[in-house]
Protein backbone atom coordinates (compact mmCIF):
# COMPACT_ATOMS: atom_id res chain seq x y z
CA UNK A 1 0.00 0.00 0.00
CA UNK A 2 1.34 3.39 -0.92
CA UNK A 3 1.86 5.71 2.07
CA UNK A 4 -0.39 8.40 0.62
CA UNK A 5 -3.37 6.00 0.54
CA UNK A 6 -3.70 4.34 3.91
CA UNK A 7 -7.49 4.12 3.83
CA UNK A 8 -8.71 2.63 0.54
CA UNK A 9 -12.35 3.67 0.83
CA UNK A 10 -11.51 7.24 1.86
CA UNK A 11 -8.82 7.46 -0.82
CA UNK A 12 -11.28 6.39 -3.51
CA UNK A 13 -13.89 8.88 -2.34
CA UNK A 14 -11.30 11.64 -2.21
CA UNK A 15 -10.36 10.99 -5.82
CA UNK A 16 -14.00 10.87 -6.87
CA UNK A 17 -14.54 14.30 -5.31
CA UNK A 18 -11.75 15.51 -7.65
CA UNK A 19 -13.55 13.98 -10.61
CA UNK A 20 -11.31 10.94 -10.95
CA UNK A 21 -12.41 7.29 -11.05
CA UNK A 22 -9.78 5.12 -9.40
CA UNK A 23 -9.51 1.35 -9.49
CA UNK A 24 -6.98 -0.98 -7.98
CA UNK A 25 -4.90 -3.57 -9.79
CA UNK A 26 -3.92 -6.95 -8.38
CA UNK A 27 -0.55 -8.58 -9.17
CA UNK A 28 -2.28 -10.82 -11.73
CA UNK A 29 -3.40 -7.71 -13.61
CA UNK A 30 -7.08 -7.93 -12.68
CA UNK A 31 -8.91 -4.72 -11.79
CA UNK A 32 -10.51 -4.49 -8.35
CA UNK A 33 -13.60 -2.60 -7.20
CA UNK A 34 -14.83 -1.75 -4.55
CA UNK A 35 -11.55 -0.44 -3.08
CA UNK A 36 -9.88 -2.86 -0.72
CA UNK A 37 -6.87 -3.28 1.55
CA UNK A 38 -5.76 -6.40 -0.29
CA UNK A 39 -6.46 -8.35 -3.45
CA UNK A 40 -9.51 -10.58 -3.23
CA UNK A 41 -8.58 -14.24 -3.32
CA UNK A 42 -4.91 -13.78 -2.53
CA UNK A 43 -4.46 -10.98 -0.02
CA UNK A 44 -1.71 -9.55 -2.23
CA UNK A 45 -0.96 -5.80 -2.27
CA UNK A 46 -2.94 -3.61 -4.67
CA UNK A 47 -1.90 -0.65 -6.77
CA UNK A 48 -4.09 2.31 -7.60
CA UNK A 49 -4.61 3.43 -11.16
CA UNK A 50 -6.97 5.86 -12.86
CA UNK A 51 -9.62 4.14 -14.94
CA UNK A 52 -10.52 5.26 -18.44
CA UNK A 53 -14.11 5.53 -17.24
CA UNK A 54 -15.30 3.78 -20.37
CA UNK A 55 -17.40 0.68 -20.15
CA UNK A 56 -20.43 -1.25 -21.25
CA UNK A 57 -23.87 -1.89 -19.74
CA UNK A 58 -23.90 -5.49 -18.44
CA UNK A 59 -27.47 -5.55 -17.17
CA UNK A 60 -30.13 -3.08 -16.09
CA UNK A 61 -33.48 -2.73 -14.39
CA UNK A 62 -36.08 0.05 -14.57
CA UNK A 63 -37.74 0.65 -11.23
CA UNK A 64 -41.34 1.85 -11.18
CA UNK A 65 -42.48 4.76 -9.05
CA UNK A 66 -45.92 6.04 -8.22
CA UNK A 67 -47.15 8.19 -11.11
CA UNK A 68 -46.60 10.88 -12.07
CA UNK A 69 -42.99 10.12 -11.07
CA UNK A 70 -41.08 8.54 -13.93
CA UNK A 71 -39.33 5.20 -13.51
CA UNK A 72 -35.58 5.30 -12.82
CA UNK A 73 -33.02 2.62 -13.45
CA UNK A 74 -30.08 0.81 -11.97
CA UNK A 75 -27.38 -0.68 -14.19
CA UNK A 76 -24.34 -2.85 -13.72
CA UNK A 77 -21.45 -1.42 -15.73
CA UNK A 78 -18.45 -3.43 -16.90
CA UNK A 79 -15.51 -1.05 -17.05
CA UNK A 80 -13.07 -1.65 -19.90
CA UNK A 81 -10.35 -2.39 -17.34
CA UNK A 82 -12.40 -5.32 -16.01
CA UNK A 83 -14.16 -4.22 -12.83
CA UNK A 84 -17.95 -4.30 -12.49
CA UNK A 85 -19.99 -1.79 -10.50
CA UNK A 86 -23.52 -0.53 -9.96
CA UNK A 87 -24.45 2.88 -11.34
CA UNK A 88 -26.91 4.73 -13.56
CA UNK A 89 -26.73 6.05 -17.11
CA UNK A 90 -27.93 9.63 -17.55
CA UNK A 91 -29.87 10.90 -20.53
CA UNK A 92 -31.51 7.63 -21.53
CA UNK A 93 -35.04 6.22 -21.64
CA UNK A 94 -36.40 2.66 -21.37
CA UNK A 95 -36.40 2.69 -25.18
CA UNK A 96 -32.79 3.77 -25.62
CA UNK A 97 -30.93 2.14 -22.72
CA UNK A 98 -29.83 -1.38 -23.62
CA UNK A 99 -27.51 -4.12 -22.45
CA UNK A 100 -24.24 -3.78 -24.33
CA UNK A 101 -24.48 0.02 -24.67
CA UNK A 102 -21.13 1.85 -24.53
CA UNK A 103 -20.92 4.38 -21.70
CA UNK A 104 -18.40 6.68 -20.04
CA UNK A 105 -18.14 7.81 -16.45
CA UNK A 106 -18.59 11.28 -15.02
CA UNK A 107 -18.90 12.60 -11.51
CA UNK A 108 -22.11 14.31 -10.47
CA UNK A 109 -21.47 16.96 -7.81
CA UNK A 110 -25.09 18.07 -7.42
CA UNK A 111 -26.00 15.75 -4.55
CA UNK A 112 -24.89 15.44 -0.93
CA UNK A 113 -21.83 13.45 -1.94
CA UNK A 114 -20.05 13.16 -5.30
CA UNK A 115 -21.74 10.41 -7.29
CA UNK A 116 -20.28 8.26 -10.07
CA UNK A 117 -22.63 8.24 -13.07
CA UNK A 118 -22.35 7.30 -16.73
CA UNK A 119 -23.50 8.73 -20.04
CA UNK A 120 -23.83 7.01 -23.43
CA UNK A 121 -20.94 7.31 -25.90
CA UNK A 122 -20.42 6.17 -29.46
CA UNK A 123 -18.88 2.71 -29.75
Amino acid sequence: MSPEAPFPEAHWRGALAEGRLLLQRAPDGSAVFPPRLAAPGTGAPLEWFEASGRGRVYTLSWISRKPPAEPYHVALIDLDEGARLMSRVEGVTPETLAIGMRVEAFVDHDGEAPLLLFRPVED
Binding site: S61, I63, L85, S87
Partner: protein, 383 residues
Protein backbone atom coordinates in the same frame (compact mmCIF):
# COMPACT_ATOMS: atom_id res chain seq x y z
CA UNK B 1 -10.97 -31.01 -2.15
CA UNK B 2 -13.82 -33.44 -1.62
CA UNK B 3 -16.22 -32.97 1.23
CA UNK B 4 -16.45 -35.26 4.20
CA UNK B 5 -19.99 -35.62 5.40
CA UNK B 6 -21.76 -38.14 7.63
CA UNK B 7 -24.15 -39.34 4.93
CA UNK B 8 -27.46 -40.46 6.42
CA UNK B 9 -26.00 -40.63 9.93
CA UNK B 10 -28.37 -37.88 11.05
CA UNK B 11 -32.02 -37.38 10.26
CA UNK B 12 -35.01 -35.13 10.62
CA UNK B 13 -36.90 -36.78 13.46
CA UNK B 14 -39.71 -34.28 13.77
CA UNK B 15 -41.14 -31.36 11.84
CA UNK B 16 -43.95 -28.85 11.93
CA UNK B 17 -45.26 -25.69 10.39
CA UNK B 18 -47.56 -23.30 12.19
CA UNK B 19 -49.59 -20.24 11.33
CA UNK B 20 -48.85 -20.35 7.61
CA UNK B 21 -50.78 -17.60 5.83
CA UNK B 22 -52.34 -14.94 7.98
CA UNK B 23 -52.31 -15.31 11.75
CA UNK B 24 -52.83 -11.89 13.32
CA UNK B 25 -52.11 -11.45 16.99
CA UNK B 26 -48.99 -13.58 17.20
CA UNK B 27 -45.52 -12.16 17.59
CA UNK B 28 -42.81 -13.70 15.43
CA UNK B 29 -41.35 -15.44 18.48
CA UNK B 30 -44.73 -16.88 19.46
CA UNK B 31 -45.19 -18.36 15.99
CA UNK B 32 -41.70 -19.82 16.10
CA UNK B 33 -42.11 -21.30 19.57
CA UNK B 34 -45.42 -22.89 18.60
CA UNK B 35 -43.85 -24.53 15.54
CA UNK B 36 -40.90 -25.67 17.66
CA UNK B 37 -43.13 -27.28 20.30
CA UNK B 38 -45.11 -29.05 17.57
CA UNK B 39 -41.93 -30.34 15.94
CA UNK B 40 -40.59 -31.66 19.24
CA UNK B 41 -43.92 -33.39 19.90
CA UNK B 42 -43.99 -34.73 16.34
CA UNK B 43 -40.66 -36.45 17.00
CA UNK B 44 -42.01 -37.92 20.24
CA UNK B 45 -39.38 -36.04 22.20
CA UNK B 46 -39.66 -33.63 25.10
CA UNK B 47 -38.30 -30.11 25.33
CA UNK B 48 -35.53 -30.89 27.85
CA UNK B 49 -34.04 -33.33 25.35
CA UNK B 50 -33.20 -30.46 22.98
CA UNK B 51 -29.57 -29.49 23.57
CA UNK B 52 -28.78 -27.31 20.56
CA UNK B 53 -30.64 -24.40 18.97
CA UNK B 54 -30.23 -23.10 15.44
CA UNK B 55 -32.29 -19.96 15.06
CA UNK B 56 -32.50 -17.05 12.69
CA UNK B 57 -35.39 -14.66 13.26
CA UNK B 58 -36.29 -11.67 11.10
CA UNK B 59 -36.49 -9.07 13.80
CA UNK B 60 -34.08 -10.09 16.53
CA UNK B 61 -30.33 -10.00 16.01
CA UNK B 62 -29.88 -12.17 19.14
CA UNK B 63 -32.80 -14.46 18.35
CA UNK B 64 -31.00 -17.63 19.38
CA UNK B 65 -30.51 -16.24 22.85
CA UNK B 66 -34.09 -14.99 23.07
CA UNK B 67 -35.36 -18.36 21.91
CA UNK B 68 -33.32 -20.25 24.52
CA UNK B 69 -34.62 -17.90 27.19
CA UNK B 70 -38.22 -18.24 26.02
CA UNK B 71 -38.08 -22.04 26.03
CA UNK B 72 -36.18 -22.11 29.30
CA UNK B 73 -33.37 -24.12 27.75
CA UNK B 74 -29.66 -23.89 28.43
CA UNK B 75 -28.37 -25.31 25.13
CA UNK B 76 -24.92 -26.79 24.77
CA UNK B 77 -24.72 -24.87 21.52
CA UNK B 78 -26.66 -21.95 20.06
CA UNK B 79 -26.24 -20.91 16.45
CA UNK B 80 -27.49 -17.52 15.28
CA UNK B 81 -26.13 -17.67 11.71
CA UNK B 82 -27.46 -15.00 9.35
CA UNK B 83 -26.96 -16.02 5.74
CA UNK B 84 -30.48 -15.03 4.73
CA UNK B 85 -33.05 -17.53 3.58
CA UNK B 86 -30.42 -20.21 3.12
CA UNK B 87 -29.47 -20.11 6.81
CA UNK B 88 -31.59 -23.15 7.61
CA UNK B 89 -29.82 -25.46 5.18
CA UNK B 90 -26.52 -24.26 6.67
CA UNK B 91 -27.94 -24.97 10.13
CA UNK B 92 -28.64 -28.53 9.03
CA UNK B 93 -25.05 -29.00 7.85
CA UNK B 94 -23.69 -27.73 11.18
CA UNK B 95 -26.17 -29.76 13.20
CA UNK B 96 -25.36 -32.94 11.29
CA UNK B 97 -21.62 -32.60 11.93
CA UNK B 98 -22.16 -31.79 15.61
CA UNK B 99 -24.58 -34.67 16.07
CA UNK B 100 -22.23 -37.11 14.35
CA UNK B 101 -19.35 -35.94 16.54
CA UNK B 102 -21.40 -36.43 19.68
CA UNK B 103 -21.03 -32.75 20.52
CA UNK B 104 -24.82 -32.42 20.67
CA UNK B 105 -27.64 -34.98 20.78
CA UNK B 106 -30.75 -33.20 19.59
CA UNK B 107 -30.92 -30.07 17.46
CA UNK B 108 -33.90 -27.79 17.06
CA UNK B 109 -33.94 -25.58 13.96
CA UNK B 110 -36.76 -23.05 13.89
CA UNK B 111 -37.95 -19.91 12.19
CA UNK B 112 -41.09 -17.79 12.22
CA UNK B 113 -42.36 -14.40 11.24
CA UNK B 114 -45.57 -12.41 11.51
CA UNK B 115 -44.49 -10.38 8.51
CA UNK B 116 -47.93 -10.19 6.88
CA UNK B 117 -49.89 -9.29 10.00
CA UNK B 118 -47.18 -6.87 11.09
CA UNK B 119 -47.77 -4.78 7.97
CA UNK B 120 -46.08 -6.57 5.11
CA UNK B 121 -42.73 -4.89 5.32
CA UNK B 122 -39.59 -7.01 5.26
CA UNK B 123 -38.86 -7.14 8.96
CA UNK B 124 -35.15 -7.73 8.50
CA UNK B 125 -33.27 -4.46 8.41
CA UNK B 126 -30.83 -5.25 5.64
CA UNK B 127 -30.01 -2.87 2.81
CA UNK B 128 -27.73 -2.49 -0.17
CA UNK B 129 -24.06 -1.95 0.58
CA UNK B 130 -22.51 1.53 0.50
CA UNK B 131 -21.40 1.20 -3.15
CA UNK B 132 -24.83 0.23 -4.48
CA UNK B 133 -27.10 2.21 -2.15
CA UNK B 134 -26.72 5.66 -3.83
CA UNK B 135 -28.41 4.27 -6.98
CA UNK B 136 -31.45 3.13 -4.98
CA UNK B 137 -32.00 -0.45 -6.12
CA UNK B 138 -35.00 -2.01 -4.35
CA UNK B 139 -33.36 -4.38 -1.88
CA UNK B 140 -33.32 -7.27 -2.50
CA UNK B 141 -35.71 -7.27 -5.47
CA UNK B 142 -33.64 -5.30 -7.99
CA UNK B 143 -30.71 -7.67 -7.50
CA UNK B 144 -32.89 -10.48 -8.86
CA UNK B 145 -34.21 -8.22 -11.61
CA UNK B 146 -30.66 -7.52 -12.79
CA UNK B 147 -30.00 -11.26 -12.99
CA UNK B 148 -33.29 -11.87 -14.80
CA UNK B 149 -32.64 -9.10 -17.34
CA UNK B 150 -29.22 -10.52 -18.14
CA UNK B 151 -30.60 -14.07 -18.36
CA UNK B 152 -33.22 -12.89 -20.85
CA UNK B 153 -30.57 -11.07 -22.89
CA UNK B 154 -28.05 -13.90 -22.85
CA UNK B 155 -30.29 -16.94 -23.26
CA UNK B 156 -33.53 -15.68 -24.75
CA UNK B 157 -35.54 -16.34 -21.61
CA UNK B 158 -38.93 -14.60 -21.83
CA UNK B 159 -41.41 -13.03 -19.46
CA UNK B 160 -43.71 -15.93 -20.39
CA UNK B 161 -41.06 -18.32 -19.07
CA UNK B 162 -40.91 -16.38 -15.81
CA UNK B 163 -44.70 -16.38 -15.64
CA UNK B 164 -44.75 -20.15 -16.14
CA UNK B 165 -42.78 -20.51 -12.91
CA UNK B 166 -45.51 -18.59 -11.08
CA UNK B 167 -48.26 -20.58 -12.82
CA UNK B 168 -46.59 -23.91 -11.97
CA UNK B 169 -46.27 -22.90 -8.33
CA UNK B 170 -49.93 -21.87 -8.27
CA UNK B 171 -51.00 -25.16 -9.85
CA UNK B 172 -49.36 -27.02 -6.95
CA UNK B 173 -50.76 -24.61 -4.37
CA UNK B 174 -54.33 -25.09 -5.55
CA UNK B 175 -54.37 -28.59 -4.06
CA UNK B 176 -52.39 -27.77 -0.91
CA UNK B 177 -54.76 -26.70 1.91
CA UNK B 178 -51.86 -25.01 3.73
CA UNK B 179 -51.01 -22.76 0.77
CA UNK B 180 -51.98 -19.12 1.16
CA UNK B 181 -52.61 -18.30 -2.53
CA UNK B 182 -54.89 -20.92 -4.05
CA UNK B 183 -57.01 -18.81 -6.39
CA UNK B 184 -56.88 -19.05 -10.15
CA UNK B 185 -53.95 -17.39 -11.92
CA UNK B 186 -53.57 -16.99 -15.68
CA UNK B 187 -50.71 -16.17 -17.99
CA UNK B 188 -52.50 -12.94 -18.83
CA UNK B 189 -52.67 -12.06 -15.11
CA UNK B 190 -48.92 -12.46 -14.91
CA UNK B 191 -48.04 -10.59 -18.10
CA UNK B 192 -50.32 -7.66 -17.30
CA UNK B 193 -49.24 -7.41 -13.67
CA UNK B 194 -47.78 -4.18 -12.36
CA UNK B 195 -44.07 -3.91 -13.10
CA UNK B 196 -41.87 -3.38 -10.03
CA UNK B 197 -38.29 -3.55 -11.29
CA UNK B 198 -38.02 -4.75 -14.88
CA UNK B 199 -38.44 -7.54 -15.82
CA UNK B 200 -39.94 -8.48 -12.43
CA UNK B 201 -43.62 -7.73 -11.91
CA UNK B 202 -45.64 -8.26 -8.75
CA UNK B 203 -46.56 -11.73 -10.07
CA UNK B 204 -42.89 -12.65 -10.24
CA UNK B 205 -42.54 -11.93 -6.51
CA UNK B 206 -43.07 -14.26 -3.58
CA UNK B 207 -45.96 -13.82 -1.19
CA UNK B 208 -45.79 -11.86 2.03
CA UNK B 209 -47.29 -14.15 4.68
CA UNK B 210 -47.02 -15.10 8.31
CA UNK B 211 -45.77 -18.52 9.27
CA UNK B 212 -43.35 -20.59 11.26
CA UNK B 213 -41.47 -23.84 10.71
CA UNK B 214 -39.32 -26.11 12.85
CA UNK B 215 -37.45 -29.38 12.54
CA UNK B 216 -35.75 -31.60 15.08
CA UNK B 217 -32.59 -33.46 14.07
CA UNK B 218 -31.03 -36.42 15.86
CA UNK B 219 -28.65 -39.21 14.91
CA UNK B 220 -30.48 -41.61 12.62
CA UNK B 221 -30.01 -44.59 14.92
CA UNK B 222 -31.94 -42.73 17.58
CA UNK B 223 -34.51 -41.37 15.15
CA UNK B 224 -35.40 -44.95 14.19
CA UNK B 225 -36.86 -45.45 17.67
CA UNK B 226 -38.83 -42.23 17.74
CA UNK B 227 -42.42 -41.48 16.82
CA UNK B 228 -42.12 -40.75 13.11
CA UNK B 229 -40.24 -42.21 10.13
CA UNK B 230 -36.74 -40.69 10.10
CA UNK B 231 -35.79 -38.58 7.11
CA UNK B 232 -32.02 -39.09 6.76
CA UNK B 233 -29.86 -36.18 5.64
CA UNK B 234 -27.74 -37.52 2.79
CA UNK B 235 -25.79 -34.38 2.00
CA UNK B 236 -25.65 -30.68 2.87
CA UNK B 237 -23.44 -27.94 1.45
CA UNK B 238 -23.34 -24.15 1.50
CA UNK B 239 -21.52 -21.80 -0.87
CA UNK B 240 -21.07 -18.04 -1.10
CA UNK B 241 -19.67 -16.31 -4.17
CA UNK B 242 -20.68 -12.71 -3.54
CA UNK B 243 -22.91 -10.46 -1.48
CA UNK B 244 -23.86 -7.69 -3.92
CA UNK B 245 -24.88 -8.89 -7.39
CA UNK B 246 -22.67 -6.10 -8.71
CA UNK B 247 -19.75 -8.31 -7.68
CA UNK B 248 -20.91 -11.43 -9.52
CA UNK B 249 -18.59 -12.71 -12.21
CA UNK B 250 -21.60 -13.94 -14.19
CA UNK B 251 -24.91 -12.92 -12.68
CA UNK B 252 -26.67 -15.82 -14.42
CA UNK B 253 -24.65 -18.45 -12.54
CA UNK B 254 -25.07 -18.70 -8.77
CA UNK B 255 -23.16 -20.53 -6.08
CA UNK B 256 -25.96 -23.11 -6.19
CA UNK B 257 -23.77 -24.68 -8.86
CA UNK B 258 -21.23 -25.39 -6.14
CA UNK B 259 -23.53 -26.15 -3.19
CA UNK B 260 -25.71 -28.45 -5.29
CA UNK B 261 -22.83 -30.41 -6.79
CA UNK B 262 -21.21 -30.85 -3.39
CA UNK B 263 -24.42 -31.84 -1.60
CA UNK B 264 -25.33 -34.34 -4.30
CA UNK B 265 -21.81 -35.80 -4.31
CA UNK B 266 -22.03 -36.30 -0.54
CA UNK B 267 -25.41 -37.94 -1.00
CA UNK B 268 -24.16 -40.15 -3.81
CA UNK B 269 -26.91 -38.99 -6.14
CA UNK B 270 -27.14 -37.12 -9.43
CA UNK B 271 -29.90 -34.74 -10.50
CA UNK B 272 -31.57 -37.69 -12.26
CA UNK B 273 -32.06 -39.41 -8.90
CA UNK B 274 -33.84 -36.43 -7.36
CA UNK B 275 -37.56 -37.20 -7.43
CA UNK B 276 -38.70 -33.74 -6.30
CA UNK B 277 -36.91 -30.44 -5.76
CA UNK B 278 -37.93 -27.65 -3.40
CA UNK B 279 -36.17 -24.49 -4.60
CA UNK B 280 -36.25 -21.17 -2.80
CA UNK B 281 -38.41 -19.11 -5.17
CA UNK B 282 -38.34 -15.59 -3.76
CA UNK B 283 -38.76 -14.52 -7.40
CA UNK B 284 -39.61 -16.49 -10.54
CA UNK B 285 -36.06 -16.12 -11.90
CA UNK B 286 -34.75 -18.05 -8.87
CA UNK B 287 -36.41 -21.27 -9.92
CA UNK B 288 -34.94 -20.98 -13.42
CA UNK B 289 -31.44 -20.19 -12.16
CA UNK B 290 -31.45 -22.97 -9.59
CA UNK B 291 -32.82 -25.59 -12.00
CA UNK B 292 -29.82 -24.80 -14.20
CA UNK B 293 -27.21 -24.42 -11.48
CA UNK B 294 -28.28 -27.61 -9.70
CA UNK B 295 -27.99 -29.53 -12.97
CA UNK B 296 -31.63 -30.30 -13.73
CA UNK B 297 -31.24 -28.64 -17.15
CA UNK B 298 -28.34 -26.99 -19.01
CA UNK B 299 -27.38 -23.36 -18.31
CA UNK B 300 -29.60 -21.07 -20.29
CA UNK B 301 -32.32 -23.70 -20.81
CA UNK B 302 -34.21 -23.03 -17.58
CA UNK B 303 -36.85 -20.89 -19.23
CA UNK B 304 -37.63 -23.46 -21.90
CA UNK B 305 -37.47 -26.25 -19.26
CA UNK B 306 -40.20 -24.68 -17.15
CA UNK B 307 -42.28 -23.70 -20.18
CA UNK B 308 -42.26 -27.37 -21.27
CA UNK B 309 -44.33 -28.10 -18.17
CA UNK B 310 -41.52 -30.04 -16.49
CA UNK B 311 -41.92 -28.56 -13.01
CA UNK B 312 -45.73 -28.36 -12.83
CA UNK B 313 -48.10 -31.12 -11.69
CA UNK B 314 -47.66 -34.04 -14.06
CA UNK B 315 -44.19 -32.85 -15.14
CA UNK B 316 -40.94 -34.81 -15.10
CA UNK B 317 -39.49 -32.93 -12.09
CA UNK B 318 -42.08 -31.84 -9.53
CA UNK B 319 -40.75 -28.54 -8.12
CA UNK B 320 -42.09 -26.64 -5.13
CA UNK B 321 -44.90 -29.11 -4.62
CA UNK B 322 -46.36 -27.06 -1.77
CA UNK B 323 -46.71 -23.99 -4.00
CA UNK B 324 -43.35 -22.54 -2.95
CA UNK B 325 -42.67 -19.02 -1.81
CA UNK B 326 -44.68 -17.77 -4.77
CA UNK B 327 -47.98 -19.40 -3.76
CA UNK B 328 -47.69 -21.31 -0.47
CA UNK B 329 -45.98 -18.97 1.99
CA UNK B 330 -43.08 -16.59 2.36
CA UNK B 331 -42.72 -15.14 5.84
CA UNK B 332 -39.53 -13.19 5.15
CA UNK B 333 -37.29 -16.22 4.88
CA UNK B 334 -38.50 -19.40 3.21
CA UNK B 335 -35.61 -21.87 3.48
CA UNK B 336 -36.98 -24.03 6.29
CA UNK B 337 -40.34 -24.38 4.55
CA UNK B 338 -38.56 -25.85 1.50
CA UNK B 339 -36.81 -28.34 3.81
CA UNK B 340 -40.09 -29.33 5.43
CA UNK B 341 -41.85 -29.87 2.11
CA UNK B 342 -38.96 -32.09 0.99
CA UNK B 343 -39.15 -34.04 4.28
CA UNK B 344 -42.93 -34.40 3.99
CA UNK B 345 -42.45 -35.84 0.51
CA UNK B 346 -39.98 -38.40 1.91
CA UNK B 347 -42.37 -39.25 4.76
CA UNK B 348 -45.16 -39.71 2.24
CA UNK B 349 -47.42 -37.11 3.82
CA UNK B 350 -47.20 -34.13 1.47
CA UNK B 351 -50.44 -32.52 0.33
CA UNK B 352 -49.30 -33.17 -3.24
CA UNK B 353 -47.54 -36.44 -2.59
CA UNK B 354 -45.17 -37.63 -5.33
CA UNK B 355 -45.17 -41.40 -5.76
CA UNK B 356 -41.87 -43.00 -4.87
CA UNK B 357 -40.28 -39.82 -3.55
CA UNK B 358 -37.23 -41.45 -2.01
CA UNK B 359 -34.74 -38.67 -2.80
CA UNK B 360 -35.76 -35.03 -2.35
CA UNK B 361 -33.64 -31.91 -2.64
CA UNK B 362 -34.19 -28.61 -0.86
CA UNK B 363 -32.28 -25.53 -1.91
CA UNK B 364 -32.00 -22.26 -0.01
CA UNK B 365 -30.99 -18.83 -1.20
CA UNK B 366 -29.98 -15.78 0.79
CA UNK B 367 -29.29 -12.12 0.08
CA UNK B 368 -29.27 -11.22 -3.61
CA UNK B 369 -28.55 -14.67 -5.05
CA UNK B 370 -25.59 -14.50 -2.68
CA UNK B 371 -25.66 -17.36 -0.20
CA UNK B 372 -26.65 -20.76 -1.59
CA UNK B 373 -27.17 -23.94 0.42
CA UNK B 374 -28.47 -27.33 -0.66
CA UNK B 375 -29.61 -30.36 1.30
CA UNK B 376 -30.45 -33.81 -0.03
CA UNK B 377 -32.91 -35.92 1.94
CA UNK B 378 -33.57 -39.61 1.43
CA UNK B 379 -35.90 -42.29 2.67
CA UNK B 380 -34.62 -45.10 4.90
CA UNK B 381 -34.69 -47.24 1.75
CA UNK B 382 -31.88 -45.10 0.27
CA UNK B 383 -29.42 -45.91 3.08
Amino acid sequence: MTDTFPRARTAIAGLATFGVGETPGYSSMELTVQAALLAVADAGLTLPEIDALFICQPDDFFAGLSFAEYLGLQPRYTDNNRTGGSAFMSHMASAALMLEAGYIDCALIAYGSNQRSAGGKLATKITSNQWDAPYAPIFPLTGYALAAARHMHQYGTTREDLATVALSARAWARTNPEAFARGPLTLEDCLSARMVSTPISVRDCCLVTDGAAAIVMTRTDRARDLARPPVPLLGAAAATWWNSVAQSKDVTVTAAKESGARAMAMAGVTPRDVRTAQLYDAFTINTILFLEDLGFCPKGEGGRFVSSGAIAPGGSLPVNTNGGGLSCCHPGMYGLFAVIEAARQIRGEAANQIDGADVALAHGNGGTLSSQATVVLGSMATL
